[in-house]
């Protein structure tokens, strides 16, 4: 156990075998304190397995997981792995009461506060089994965040939610991270949502982390890329570079790619003066999904 470190969790060369199948192959990554750490990967890449290992549900075959806090203290790790762990025949409040007893917490007004925090303050005597998926997920998060955990591990928390539910969970997680300083490790198939949440990303492929990157760095790596179609690409490239863009000509496609933001009128006028007519301009935003596809190759299938 290491405390007062700048990381909350450090995964070192973790391997997990299920018989002959190796789900994790020397996986390593570091989760910074206070971050929202997004795990991105295909189905079967090993995201859920590593989350189960980190949360203590499974033991690694080899390798270690270091915690930057006392992870053996009851309630210091909160997790929502796969499905919310809630009694379907109990109310939201009763579920939280059980969780408080489980963690040895005093049953007080903080239960109502937690319910209010996740937007379930008015569910009354309604049993959790009758909750919508979004409500169940929010209750699962409320259960996981009982006892003010240092880290919250969430596996696909917005899976199957409607757009409104996705927004609610996203806002809730941002609030948790900003207001309570909880580090969050999250995986999601909906990469556009993950990109709105996460401050750090780890790209998981074939049981390994193939890339760790900060959100800002991802933005720099991606950003706006514009495709210019012109009969005189050799004349157009210097014009674009002069306007502060990073332009390259791909002879195989006949397209000039320019990275960066620009004023279209100025660029068209300058190109015209240089004798490079622009026939067509297509802006392409490089997002998390594009980055992922470029990184691991082929269809994203995430």
């Amino acid at each position: 156990m290491a405390e007062n470190t700048d990381f909350i969790i450090k995964v070192n060369e973790v391997t997990k075998d299920y018989g002959k199948f190796q789900a994790l192959k020397s996986m390593s990554f570091t989760v910074p304190k206070g971050s929202i750490y997004g795990l991105v990967g295909r189905n079967g890449a090993g995201k859920t397995t590593i989350m189960r290992v980190i949360s203590g549900l499974q033991k690694p075959t080899s390798g270690t997981v270091e915690y930057g806090f006392d992870h053996k203290k009851l309630g210091n790790v909160g997790a929502l792995v796969e499905l919310p762990s809630i009694y379907s025949n109990q109310t939201a409040r009763e579920n939280l009461v059980y969780q408080y007893i489980n963690l040895g917490l005093k049953i007080d007004g903080s239960i109502e506060e937690n319910l209010q925090f996740v937007g379930l303050g008015n569910t009354g005597s309604k049993k959790a089994g009758k909750f919508s998926l979004g409500m169940r997920q929010r209750l699962g998060i409320a259960m996981a965040m009982s006892g003010n955990p240092e880290v919250l591990i969430l596996d696909e928390p917005i899976n199957g939610l409607d757009p409104q539910g996705i927004i609610q969970i996203r806002d809730l997680l941002i609030k948790l991270n900003k207001e309570r300083g909880v580090t969050i490790i999250i995986s999601s198939h909906i990469l556009s949502e993950l990109s709105k949440l996460a401050t750090d990303f780890a790209f998981v492929e074939g049981g390994r982390v193939v890339k760790e990157i900060k959100a800002e760095a991802l933005e720099d790596a991606g950003g706006l890329v514009t495709e210019f179609y012109s009969a005189n690409p050799d004349k157009l490239v210097p014009v674009l570079n002069a306007k502060g863009l990073t332009a390259t000509y791909d002879s195989s496609t006949g397209v000039v790619y320019a990275k960066g933001y620009f004023n279209l009128t100025n660029v068209v006028l300058a190109a015209n003066e240089a004798g490079a007519n622009i026939a067509r301009v297509v802006p392409r935003e490089t997002d998390l999904e594009t980055y992922f596809v470029k990184l691991v190759g082929g269809e994203s299938n995430v």
Binding site: Y87, I101, N102
Partner: protein, 318 residues
């Protein structure tokens, strides 16, 4: 561990099914006592009417035991159902995952299940016994606890039941779901009754046999004194027809189990009760005496075709 125990006890306390079983444990033994009271006092000799109940000490003791100890046959199926549904829900709703993530060890989690299920079982047994004693008292049968010795036997029966409860809990934990362990546990509960019946079949007459042999040997001595039998013949009869001869090999095999289990206790009290009930019947006694004397006379005087085997058969009737 204490947090988990608090968790599980709260769940049990809040379980409707637990309170249904508790309600059954209160009502059923009282109803059974009232039913026995009605049957015992039923008089069909002149229409249907109920006579005043007069039971000897041994009968009262027997009925006290029989009605109170019935929890060992009545409750296991309910406990099996309760245990599997109760623990199975923790798996089906993912609560066990929550406990592990919270930081509890698996041993502590499983231990909390066993401890709380055992406590629930003891609680239900005590309720059942208390209600049974209340039932036999208010029904008019009466209560005889054999000077308090019966409580020790109840305790032994509860221990046997606890072994079953632990096995139900272990099965529920191993299978991690509700349906399959439920079927297995119900089968165990029902088969335990069948096993008890088999053991009881071979053993129940054991205690009665002791009493019978004692009386028979006294009769032989009397016959020797009266000159109907000589010493050698009497000794030969006693030796040839000892307890083993009457009880058979099954008794030898199951007797050790019988001695230390509630089945044995049942047999003890049952033997006493049955003997007492029969001996109270004057007609039956007369009939037996007549048969035995008739065959003895026939054998001694060489009448008809009576042989020594007929004498044994008449003895066995007694």
């Amino acid at each position: 561990m204490f947090k988990l125990l608090g968790f599980e006890f709260r769940r049990i306390f809040k379980s409707i099914f637990f309170w249904i079983i508790a309600g059954f444990s209160v009502i059923w033994p009282v109803l059974t006592a009232l039913l026995y009271r009605a049957i015992l006092s039923l008089d069909l000799s002149d229409g249907i009417r109920f006579k005043e109940l007069e039971l000897g000490t041994e009968d009262v003791r027997y009925f006290t035991w029989m009605i109170a100890v019935a929890f060992i046959t009545e409750l296991p199926k309910f406990i099996a159902l309760f245990t599997c549904l109760h623990i199975g829900r923790d798996y089906s709703d993912g609560i066990i995952r929550n406990k592990i993530i919270s930081g509890h060890s698996r041993i502590a989690i499983y231990g909390s299940y066993i401890v709380t299920q055992m406590a629930a079982t003891v609680c239900l047994c005590v309720i059942y016994i208390a209600s049974a004693l209340f039932g036999v008292a208010v029904s008019g049968i009466g209560v005889d606890l054999n000077g308090g010795e019966m409580f020790a036997r109840f305790a032994t029966a509860i221990v046997v039941f606890l072994v079953m409860t632990v096995s139900f809990t272990v099965l529920a934990v191993i299978f991690r779901r509700r349906a399959l362990p439920l079927i297995l546990c119900i089968l165990i509960a029902l088969s335990s009754n069948a096993v008890a019946s088999v053991i009881g079949y071979f053993n129940t007459p054991g205690k009665a046999c002791d009493g019978y042999l004692e009386v028979r040997n006294e009769n032989y001595e009397e016959l020797v004194e009266l000159g109907y039998l000589d010493d050698d013949t009497a000794d030969e009869l006693i030796e040839k027809k000892d307890k083993d001869a009457y009880m058979g090999i099954g008794w030898k095999i199951f007797h050790p189990v019988y001695v230390v289990s509630p089945f044995g206790f049942e047999g003890d009290y049952q033997a006493g009760g049955v003997t007492s009930l029969i001996s109270n019947s004057i007609e039956y006694q007369k009939e037996l005496d007549f048969s035995t004397h008739f065959i003895t006379q026939s054998f001694m005087l060489g009448y008809a075709s009576a042989v020594q085997k007929d004498r044994f058969d008449a003895d066995i009737l007694r």
